[in-house]
Amino acid sequence: MPEKTEHLRLRRFAETIRLETLKEFAELGFGHVGGAMSILETIAALYGGLMKIDPKRPDWKERDRFVMSKGHAGPTLYATLALLGYFPIEELKTLNKGGTNLPSHCDMHKTKGVDMTTGSLGQGISTAIGIALGQRMDGSGAYTYLAVGDGELNEGQIWEGAQFAPFQKLTNLIAFVDVNGKQLDGPTEEILDPLDIGAKFAAFGWLVKEVDGHDVAAIYDAVTEAKQSGKGPYVILLKTVKGNGCDFVAEMASNHHVQFDKEKMLAEVEKTQKRLEALGGESA
């Protein structure tokens, strides 16, 4: 378990990621802000220390890998990768612009550090399983991490993969479900109620944990415990708020894809900057 100073470092890292992600959106004037914010602390925990990676060697065979199956949260991952040095931070300004390496949804061949192309929901669980199987065959001890949305659980392919991974005893696969309770058209319970997500995964043979998805230290500790157990696959249910940390978006009833005035987003950037300073951190 990391020391408290380590927890503080992770919180600073998360706020720094938020700062850069919100700047990306401010530049653009629209985007999938809600889901990008709800998964943010998980990305911070993974890339802030959990993952065995080397930004100088994005193609390092023995690295841990991350599949952002809810591919529309790409902007959070891009900010993280830029902060780690996979590509220049200035490139974040090109999000979604013609010719960019940072498309709306994750693309492993455009963006250094992105491990799998996603965007058609449900597919990431299968590719993550394939990667985890490959890592196991390599004997590298590497892990695959997977993030899916709770709306994404509507997809049948999720449950094909959910059935397969425990059957193959994939102890090197750790999945996260971003349970923000909302999908594009409204609350998940009104569109297609996922019912008891933990019970469903448990019934498929997964080991299930639940954490506050905005507590980066709790996520870090949950994953560390899961790895230490030597068991798996694990699914970690993240209790989250769609748009968390970007107040005007979090307050919107419908916030999957939003348009906004630049000034409004810059105000959120400023608030984030202040939170970061309160944590004793500096902006990137």
């Binding site: 492993m108 590719t127 985890a132």
Partner: protein, 315 residues
Amino acid sequence: MRTYQDEPVMLRETLAKTMIEYAGKDTRIVALDADLASSSGFGAFQKAFPDRFFNCGVAEANMVGIAAGLSSTGRIPFAHSFGTFASRRVCDQIFLSGAYSGAHMVIVGSDPGVTAAYNGGTHMPFEDMGVLRSIPGIKLIEVTDSAMLRGVFDEIISSPAVYYLRLKRKVTTAVYGEGEKFKIGRANVLREGKDAAVICSGIMVAESLKAADILESEGIKVTVIDMHTWKPIDEDIVAKYAKETGVIITAENHNVVGGLGAAVCEAVCKLSPCRVIRHGIQDEFGEVGTESYLKTRFKLNAADVAETVRKAIKL
């Protein structure tokens, strides 16, 4: 003169044997099936390499995604299902997790067209190649016989892409001798004649050769081209014979909409316009029966091809 006679082994046996042979020297090769390993011959691969085979159960979308993930770790997966489920059911997975992601993997779609026979219309892929043909960069190959299957294997392993191998599982007709050369994207011209060109693949190669024999006895000389690769199609050969014969007949065990006939028309329109008569499934669903019954029902016999050629020449 080309001969045509039933092969002593089923094509699936050749596939499994070839995969096992290559896998013995190349640890990248792995195999997946969707609860059809005992039908596809992949069971033999499983016996030879139990740690490199994954039965995904009846979950084709997951299987294709897993194959793509394995590819991203440096493996070359072969994933099989019946052609219907290996194409239309997993089109989005082949598109995004596969081709868009730059995967190197081989989707094997078995029982093409009428060879699905007793499984009937639900299992009869007249659309598999058409469904996949608009995916950028995908390579679509209909395998004629065992010699061809072995002949394209080196290139499949050494040239990364998403491949779709359309092949009959059971006994097929041998057209090629051992050691003949094949290049993906380069058609094989099997006989030459100036009156018309028949462009075909799969089970229609033997039927077209037989049709050429029938026509020759009537004084009509036709070129027969095995267009095993539907994508990328061999435009040069199409253009050459469009110019030389002035009339092309395509013969396919597939819907003419979106199929080989359509692909040939695109090449002809682009390079050397001429008449193209598309002989094949005329936008219908399949149905149940023996292969022999279905070949008659859907006009896929040599006599049917010959008749189409006669009419085309008179047009």
